[in-house]
């Protein structure tokens, strides 16, 4: 039997996002976990599983073990899960599975990194033979996907603009977002090219920061002060192959991941009140919306063209500003925002309907994908 609907997110926490000089990834991670434990209303002595994604900028062995030591916790379970940007959603599910099987009872899941003040070398590290041809940085792979997408479906850069403009509108209501000043289509189109067809405003910023969540059984959470957020569905899907060998550029692991997660939760796109979709580059949420079935393949740009994902729209998306405007951190912050929206804690940017949400995490060059369906009630 599925564990969907039996486990809940009891607490979430984060740090400031941006340039945080003097802070190690461990320090940031501990702050986020401390805040998540406090938010859950539990004592750290109850936490017996520590799950992390290793810092992208400095991949270290035994990272979860080290974080446990910083927390003063002797864990029953640790794991440092590497699905790149899909890691934290996957780790949260792993936590629930370990609790279900009796290995532990309360898990924290975290991501923290300091690529802005620390080292960014990893983002330009030799990737193999493609360096000889000048293909550098995460942006190059996403630009390659974007070019193919725009060609195949006869769209242009202008058709991507609702994504960065929407993210920025939402971020203008988030005091912790890195970029809060609203942008126009003209701003988007006149921002410099980083890797054509991607403009600067199509690309996420690199920031320091950390975010974390506490997961436990719904049964155990009964007496906690805050309303539980149910893990009602989850999935994974991976293209795995790199761009040279990947069969299609316009369909991602979101297709498989979303199919499993939506079915598990017993929902269709019609039931979703708002979305938190991982979008480090503008094309990614568009492909994800298609793969999840919110619209047909190739119709993602048309789907968002009426600004329905912007504040006041019928399908709010990336309500904290997403990767393009809040922080380019890989994924955990989207889970944090989803939990706060479901609880109704988001003040000015609070969405009116907030019972069911879908969070996507993805990484590589749309190489990995992990989906969470979260809700205020068990499925």
């Amino acid at each position: 039997m599925s564990i969907a609907g039996k486990y809940i997110i009891a607490g979430v926490g984060n740090t400031k996002y941006g340039k945080l000089p003097g802070r190690s990834s461990e320090s940031l991670t501990v702050e986020a976990i401390r805040n998540a434990i406090q938010d859950a209303g539990i004592d750290k002595s109850q936490v017996d599983a520590v799950l992390t994604k290793a810092p992208t900028s400095n991949f270290e062995l035994l990272y979860s073990t080290r974080i446990s030591e910083h927390l003063g916790i002797v864990p029953k379970v640790t794991a440092t899960i590497d699905n790149a940007g899909a890691s934290t959603a996957s780790a949260l599910v792993y936590g629930a599975m370990c609790i279900e099987e009796g290995l532990c009872s309360v898990a924290v899941v975290s991501y923290g990194d300091n690529p802005l003040t620390g080292s960014r070398d990893v983002y330009a590290k030799p990737a193999g033979d493609t360096d000889a041809y000048g293909m550098f940085g995460a942006v190059s792979g996403y630009a390659m996907i974007t070019q193919r997408y725009l060609h195949k479906f006869n769209k242009t850069s202008v058709n991507l603009a609702p994504i960065p403009i929407g993210d920025r509108k939402w971020a203008s209501m988030n005091p912790n977002a890195l970029f809060q000043k609203p942008i126009t289509l003209d701003d988007h189109q006149s921002s410099r090219f980083v890797a054509e067809p991607l403009h600067l405003l199509d690309c996420c910023p690199v920031t320091d920061g950390a975010a974390a969540a506490v997961i436990m059984s719904a049964e155990r959470a009964k007496d906690l002060p805050k309303a539980p957020v149910y893990l009602n569905g989850f999935g994974q899907g991976h293209t795995a192959w790199e761009l040279v060998t990947r069969e299609h550029y316009t369909t991602s692991g979101a297709l498989q991941s979303g199919k499993v997660a939506f079915q598990m939760a017993g929902i269709t796109p019609r039931n979703v009140d708002f979305l938190e979709l991982y979008g480090p580059f503008s094309v990614v949420p568009i492909i994800t919306l298609e793969d999840y079935g919110f619209c047909k393949k190739g119709e993602g740009c048309d789907f968002v063209a009426d600004n329905k994902t912007h504040p006041g729209g019928a399908l709010p998306m990336n309500t904290s500003g997403g990767l393009l405007s809040e922080t380019g951190m890989p994924g955990m912050q989207l889970i944090v925002e989803a939990v706060r929206q479901l609880r109704g804690e988001c003040g000015q940017r609070q969405v009116p309907k907030h019972d069911v949400t879908v969070v996507s995490n993805q990484g590589g060059h749309m190489t990995t994908h992990s989906t969470l369906v979260l809700g205020t009630h068990p499925r």
Binding site: A124, T130, Y133, F136, G137, Q147, V244
Partner: protein, 133 residues
């Protein structure tokens, strides 16, 4: 003239590929069992896992599968080149290569037919480039 840009990492697995470029006669591994070509070179056919592979000459023709124009400077050795294109070329034999297309960036279109040319960048290494047909 010293060539300062990054060079491919030659391994036991891909050495015949780089040797074939040096000889101005590109070869790729073709599987004896399933008949399919693959790239980048592996010790086992990624289609059927056979280790019976034969390095076969390719025609050197293909088409533009996708391309980007890099404006951001990541490696200072490309300072005189930005903006330059990076192009995903699909060879007629099936495999794709990350390469560069010579000529103006704004002339490149997905689906353009292209032909292989050789660029002897150092005494040891020859890179593949492509020209539009």
């Amino acid at each position: 003239m010293d060539y300062k840009k990054p060079l491919p990492i030659v391994t036991e697995t891909n050495r015949p590929f780089w040797d074939s470029l040096k000889a101005h006669a590109m070869r790729l591994p073709q599987c004896d069992a399933c008949g399919k070509f693959h790239a980048p070179p592996r010790d086992f056919c990624p289609h059927c896992l056979s280790d019976k592979l034969t390095w076969k000459p390719v025609q050197g023709t293909g088409e533009v599968y996708s391309f980007i124009v890099m404006h951001q400077l990541y490696d200072k050795t490309f300072a005189d080149d930005v903006p330059y294109n990076v192009t995903m070329v699909k060879l007629d034999e099936g495999p794709r290569l990350v390469s560069n297309v010579r000529g103006p960036n704004d002339a490149i279109r997905i689906g353009d037919r292209v032909k292989l040319v050789y660029d002897d960048v150092s005494a040891e290494i020859t890179l593949h480039r492509f020209v539009r047909l």
